[in-house]
Symmetry: C2
Subunit: 247 residues, 2 copies
């Protein structure tokens, strides 16, 4: 039985990968993935066979990797961040039902909610929601409902895909939904190009975030009512009673 | 200026750590943390000075590490999973305001929502919430409200701390709240002892989960209305329109 590993390689920098991910990539003769992510590992492993597809060709990419593994080659499909969170693991398992001879193994990685969180400080130190603003696969009404419910629950919200060329005003729309529940001065943050050259971050208010220009490579954090700015960083205390205990 | 690193070491096994975390631990002469997590790294780095405290002594643990760093020793505070998610990063930053000579650097790690998710398949393949059932620092009413809102939003819910000796029926209570919105046959999953000897997982319905005996070392996943069981694993498709695209 051959193996297809779905490997989260973490944020951009190679050191963001787990030792397990590194060992798996070392052990597989074939590495598949979206060209941009494959390029992040090519330098370290020049002697592999690489199978790449361009963006949005997820189904083709998965079938290609499944066929390769079915033909007997241990294959690793790389994903940025985690293998599961908006990654390829789910789609591979859906399509993998047609390839019973292939064992699919998921190797987790540090997703942007964690790597971006570390850059900002500790925005997700307590309960949180992760919501994608991409309406490519999800109707906007559902996204808006999720934002509304998450802010009613006073959860910290981490937004993936906050913007793209076709959805320039989505972040503003999202902030307005959250502002129905949360104060305009709620502490928020953003990180651009996490772990890559040109990394940038900032802490700002919800009101300011609504006017902020995010791009495809930005991860956004909207605080809960308890989130604070401490020395330019974004911190959500671990519990509602922590102040008393910390005294 | 000396440095205090807060390092997420991932799930139990050493290979679950990132290369960055490993490099940081190598570089610091002092390693601090809760004894159980410190023991996970001691074997690899026998020649460090170790500062440990028992469970629930978070404030003491943080002060100890801050004082060590303030005295000029680069120090690493280890956390299981991620450094931020219910970890020490936030508390260190709150207390760290009193130690301006110490630079606090957060090194993220694979939290249980990702490492447990990988074991189950791809439960958090789409929007999700992470909620702790521990009412040590959060009133139960707030926890219940968050569960209710998250299920109204049809988010996948990952539960941390689903049980303890004093809170044996909390998982059942949580499942009942979710069942106000979600069907009793909603696909759920659990993972015990992620990445450690004795790791165990299972996929079951929400109704069955309400009767399930979790322990302190269990992470629980409650699916959204779209979550499926595929070959004994738990998969949440990446989008609401994915079926059409996958054809």
């Amino acid at each position: 039985m051959s193996r297809l590993y779905v490997v989260g390689i973490g944020p951009g920098k190679p050191a963001g990968m787990t030792l397990e991910a590194l060992e798996v990539l070392e052990s597989c003769p074939v590495i598949a993935g979206y060209t941009v992510y494959v390029d992040l590992v090519k330098e370290r492993f020049p002697d592999k066979r690489y199978l790449t597809t361009s963006m949005k060709q997820e189904v083709e990419r998965c079938r290609m990797a499944l066929m390769e593994a079915a033909a007997g080659q241990d294959t690793a499909m790389v994903c940025s961040g985690d293998a599961g969170v908006y990654g390829m693991a789910g789609l591979l398992m859906e399509l993998g039902a047609e390839y019973p001879q292939v064992e699919i193994i998921v190797v987790p990685g540090v997703s942007a909610v964690l790597s971006g969180g570390a850059v900002l400080g500790a925005p997700v130190g307590h309960d949180f929601a992760v919501i994608s603003l991409s309406d490519l696969l999800t109707p906007w009404e559902m996204i808006e409902r999720r934002l509304r419910c998450a802010s009613m629950a006073d959860l910290v919200i981490c937004l993936y895909n906050p913007s793209s060329r076709k959805r320039k005003d989505y972040l503003k729309k999202a902030c307005r939904v959250v502002m129905e529940q949360q104060r305009p001065d709620t502490v928020c943050g953003y990180v651009k190009q996490i772990g890559r050259p040109g990394q940038e971050f900032g802490v700002l208010t919800l009101e300011e975030l609504a006017e902020f220009e995010a791009d495809m490579f930005t991860t956004v954090f909207i605080g809960s009512s308890r989130t604070k700015e401490i020395g330019g960083r974004m911190v959500t205390p671990r519990g509602y009673r922590l102040e008393e205990r910390a005294r």
